[in-house]
């Protein structure tokens, strides 16, 4: 490795020291100012918060509250640092940022990450005293550091290595034995800790406590023995553990999916967007030798406003890159013959597909149904929507029976920043920590700051319950009534009138109908007319797909599946959708796929549904195609191709264009650029709105079923990522301890769950956070041994809510 003096100015580690927008005080101001002051007022009023300071002899302007370290960085005077991170509170832990600061009492060495600017302050980052201090600190930090850079994954993108070159003394006077620890130790299924390399900067522990709220790692012991560690037998099993690896300024924390896979200087990177869920976290995709090797979170603002994810990613989004190169990837078209699914050429597969569609359409456009499209880009969705329009196919839906009606998008939209700046967040939806984890982080930060009060309506409790102002646990089937009742409370009314209100709306329970959520949201909007809505539909690009035209025109996924089960569908197109594994009503999905005359699956991976299809067309997945994606806020960001597609897979839009050509339609677009230019923003949605059924009173001898997702489940991309596949908990039913005791079953025993559609056996688990009379199961959990069943087997998607009976398994 040669000395790399530029490294400090261009950190290779994406979020690490990007210092995107200065310190916290500035960011908050920006967020508020951003709202709607885009190009108004040519007259610039003097900023009352502006102060003038001198950095290295130059007078520069800074903002009150800004830290010296970030003011200096903005003015081309980079101060070395390890513990300082712009998205976390300053702690002055590493002392590397010592510079001479004169506030009128003469120059003194002070940690610049702890000192806010003040008018007339004189800072010298390059004086002999500053330099000697920084060299001294580096020598101390290296006293126990093993200097095993040649075998360290961080070598080449390591802030310690880079700053030792740029700001270090060059050699050490220490000859003593260094501190020794067992190396590395696993602190979770995904993260390894090498305590010898650790410089105790407090970044990971601060992140775990402050940002993630999972203080499962902590400094242990004292003095020379101080180390980061977990409690014995209590691993760092946070959904956000990968972020600590990214922000570690040395190679102490490494993630198992990337360990020893590449050297940083061999990596190529491109800026993209994560489409695992609909938050739209900005990522940097890193690859080497045409293989994607890791995702890093990016902290970048765009035209739409401030950064979405603040540089953070959830572990599912960060590590599911493994699925791009999974064994289950589809590389060539398959057509069903007597010998089962058989590989064929694209031209023959496309001609078969076009023939099937053509003859089905001849029988009436309602004999074709299209389910899916949320997995792709906006361009994919637009091409398919235009193809459906051209063919007159109204039976289409980008949601797979797990969302809420698309009209939610017609309500005034909030951004994540709006939600974080609101006086009140009304949460009617899933546990965001499980489904949209980074949105959970953002909202949690707003709640922790005391700015925002949360009123949540949840059947189970959520990651925000502990900090919620009101947490209303409702009985499934009675959501609207519970919300109305709560709104009539005078305290709640006063809180809603106290300032901006943002309704965060999604599907709280997959064993309960979706339209009720819309009614509940409308009830809140009626009570707080200025309220805006943040729709938390989970699927990757579901908002983009719905807005591009894949929202139901005549019949949503449930209706399409019912029609298929009744034999009314001749060709069912599955656009990256896997209803057999992913629709709440497993029996309906099975009957639908059996009842549809032909099933065409366009998917990146071999899924349960593509295995049952008649034609399987291999699709390019994220990382293999370019385009745009739209997040829950309506923010459109690019996704970029980084590696060559697997086999002969093609992006969905290309397949749609070719099918259109074969069917004799002109979609008015001929390539990706045309599509990108044509992506609509904020389309209106309408549907034959079915009034939500009236509440279903709880039954006396049955238990009301709650089903919701957890972060790790049997979803295709998770199951295809070896590091994540093992993390799914498997089937299980949580029951209130008193209900469990009444049955005479102990926690951990198997029970039979008998519901409207059938019964499954799974282990019971006592959980006193549940209301009595309700039971909870995680969605889409599979037992590899086949002993325990999937809760989807008992759900009737057409019921207002689902009741189950528990039977003791003898």
């Amino acid at each position: 490795m040669s000395p790399n003096d530029d490294a400090v100015n261009e950190p290779t580690d994406a979020t690490d020291d990007a210092g995107s927008s200065g310190d916290k005080a500035v960011m908050v101001d920006d967020a508020v100012a951003d709202a709607d002051t885009v190009d108004s007022e040519p007259v610039v009023e003097p900023d009352p918060d502006a102060v003038t300071i001198t950095i290295n002899g130059r007078e520069v302007s800074a903002r009150r509250g800004e830290l010296v370290i970030s003011a200096a960085e903005r003015n081309d005077a980079y101060i070395p640092r390890f513990c300082y991170h712009p998205r976390m509170s300053s702690v002055g832990m590493c002392r590397q940022c010592l510079v001479e600061i004169d506030t009128g009492r003469g120059p003194m060495l002070q940690p610049s990450c702890m000192v806010p600017v003040s008018d007339g302050m004189v800072v010298d980052t390059e004086s002999d005293t500053s330099k000697r201090a920084q060299e001294g600190i580096l020598e101390l930090l290296l006293a126990n550091h093993p200097l095993d850079c040649p075998v360290c994954d961080k070598g080449g993108e390591c802030p310690l290595q880079d700053q030792a070159f740029s700001h270090g003394p060059g050699e050490s006077r220490y000859v003593e034995e260094k501190r020794h620890y067992e190396k590395p130790i696993p602190i979770s299924d995904l993260v390894f800790l090498d305590r010898e390399r650790c410089i105790l900067c407090d970044r990971c522990t601060r992140f775990a406590d402050e940002v993630a709220g999972d203080a499962l790692i902590h400094f242990m012991d004292r003095g020379n023995a101080t180390q980061v560690n977990t409690y014995p037998d209590e691993p760092f099993s946070s959904y956000f553990s990968g972020n600590t690896v990214q922000i570690c300024p040395v190679g102490a924390l490494t993630a198992s999916p990337y360990r020893f896979k590449a050297r940083p200087w061999d990596l190529e990177q491109v800026e993209s967007t994560c489409t695992t869920c609909s938050v739209g976290c900005r990522t940097s995709v890193h690859s080497s030798r045409d293989r994607v090797l890791r995702f890093q979170g990016l902290d970048v603002s765009d035209d739409h406003g401030e950064a979405v994810n603040h540089g953070w990613l959830c572990d599912r989004g960060r590590f599911n890159f493994e699925s791009i190169h999974a064994d289950t990837r589809l590389g060539e078209p398959l057509v069903r013959t007597d010998a089962g699914l058989t590989a064929t050429t694209w031209s023959s597969a496309m001609s078969i597909t076009a023939d099937l569609l053509g003859s089905a359409l001849a029988a009436g456009s309602d004999s074709v149904g299209i389910i899916g499209g949320a997995r792709g880009t906006n361009e994919d969705a637009l091409a398919w929507a235009r193809l459906a329009d051209a063919c007159g196919v109204g039976r289409r839906d980008a949601q797979v029976g797990d969302g809420i009606p698309a009209e939610i998008l017609d309500l005034p939209r909030a951004s994540v920043d709006d939600a974080c700046a609101a006086a009140t967040i009304v949460l009617i939806g899933p546990d965001l920590k499980q489904e949209l984890p980074v949105l959970h982080l953002r909202l949690r930060a707003a709640v922790e700051s005391g700015r925002t009060k949360v009123i949540e309506f949840t059947p189970t409790g959520s990651g925000l319950t502990a900090g919620a102002w009101r947490s209303q646990q409702y009985v499934p089937g009675a959501l609207v009534e519970t919300v109305r009742q709560s709104l009539s409370d005078s305290d709640v009314a006063a809180q809603l009138a106290a300032g901006p209100v943002v309704v965060v709306a999604g599907r709280p329970n997959l064993a309960e109908q979706g339209p009720a959520v819309l009614d509940a949201v409308e009830a809140v909007v009626a009570a707080a007319p200025q309220a805006t809505v943040l729709p938390v539909l989970r699927r990757g690009n579901v908002i983009g797909a719905l807005e591009a035209g894949l929202a139901p025109v005549s019949g949503d996924t449930d209706a399409i599946l019912r029609a298929a089960a009744d034999g009314q569908i001749k060709v069912l197109v599955l656009l990256g959708a896997d209803p057999l594994r992913d629709h709440p009503d497993a029996q309906l999905a099975r009957r639908a796929l059996a009842g549809a005359e032909r099933v065409i699956s366009i998917d990146g991976h071999m899924s349960s549904s593509s295995r049952a299809a008649d034609v399987v067309l291999p699709a390019a997945v994220m990382g293999e195609k370019s385009g745009t994606t739209t997040n829950i806020e309506g923010r459109t960001t690019p996704v970029e191709q980084k590696v060559t597609v697997h086999g002969t897979a093609r992006p969905d839009w290309m397949i749609a264009l070719e099918l259109a050509q074969r069917l004799g339609h002109d979609l008015g677009v001929s390539d990706l650029n045309d599509l990108t230019a044509a992506v609509p923003h904020a389309a209106r949605h309408r549907s034959d709105r079915v009034p939500a059924a009236s509440a279903m009173p709880p039954s006396n001898y049955e238990l009301r079923l709650i089903v919701s997702r957890t972060l790790y489940d049997a979803a295709v991309l998770t199951a295809a990522s070896p590091s994540l596949a093992e993390l799914a908990a498997g089937p299980g039913l949580s029951v209130h301890p008193a209900d469990l005791e009444a049955l005479g079953v102990s926690s951990g025993d198997d029970i039979r769950v008998v519901g409207p559609r059938g019964s499954v056996v799974m282990p019971a688990c006592a959980d006193d956070r549940l209301r009595r009379g309700t039971v909870w199961a995680a969605f889409n959990q599979v037992d590899p041994r086949g002993v325990h069943g999937d809760i989807r087997e008992v759900i009737d998607a057409s019921a207002v809510a689902n009741d189950v009976r528990l039977e003791v398994v003898s």
């Binding site: 499962l216 004292r222 003095g223």
Partner: protein, 209 residues
């Protein structure tokens, strides 16, 4: 050997009630656990975590910072010899050698009779009195190797029983503060006004800003 006993749990709730935030009771509860078992057990730390609403890692992290807490069984007398800078310069190593020789155990060890545990400790905040050591947290300042040998003899002979109780005894009498006798601490989050500055000059009615 485990969680706090029912009696101690009651006491723990009483202690927690003294503070505006439950987390503030962490250290007193660690003392309580140590008093119960002679050292702080893993189960007790989990119990304390539940009681004050933090993670067990935070309890352990906080507890292990302090020399006063032991996480493994120790003898009747715990001798902590400071090994940090000032004491190291002033002859802490000699003290340690004397203690090791007299007791026949290495630093970190416990004598076979269960009487003594010898530890090398981090700074005990008595740098002006270096080298210093503690026996069951009772200080011995500016100690010499002879002092150490005498101390051990005296402890063995029971001549110091009046001054130095067995390890784990926090105090010989327990202080009970009924809820109605507390001073009514205010949750820092509920403090609305500016801090009350102490006025130095009695003539000025306005506090210093």
């Amino acid at each position: 050997m485990a969680r706090l006993t029912p009696d101690n749990t009651t006491l723990a709730h009483e202690i927690i009630a003294r503070y505006p935030k439950p987390k503030s009771a962490l250290i007193p509860l660690l003392h309580l656990a140590q008093e119960q078992d002679g050292y702080v057990t893993d189960e007790a730390m989990r119990h304390i975590a539940e009681l004050v609403g933090v993670t067990p890692a935070e309890v352990r992290g906080t507890g292990t910072f302090y020399e006063m807490f032991q996480f493994e069984p120790v003898g009747r007398y715990l001798i902590n010899i400071c090994g940090t800078m000032s004491c190291a310069l002033m002859g802490a190593d000699d003290l340690m050698h004397a203690a090791e020789e007299t007791l026949g155990v290495h630093a970190g060890g416990t004598t076979d009779d269960g009487m003594f545990t010898l530890h090398r400790a981090e700074c005990q905040a008595a740098c002006t009195e270096a080298p210093c050591l503690q026996v069951n947290y009772r200080y011995r300042f500016r100690a010499t190797p002879d002092d150490v040998r005498t101390l051990i003899d005296d402890l063995r002979a029971g001549r110091l029983d009046g001054e130095i109780p067995p390890h784990g005894t926090l105090a010989r009498t327990r202080q009970h503060i009924p809820a109605d006798r507390g001073v009514g601490a205010v949750d820092p989050d509920d403090v609305a006004g500016p801090p009350a500055w102490v006025t130095v000059d009695a003539d000025t009615s306005q506090g210093a800003s």
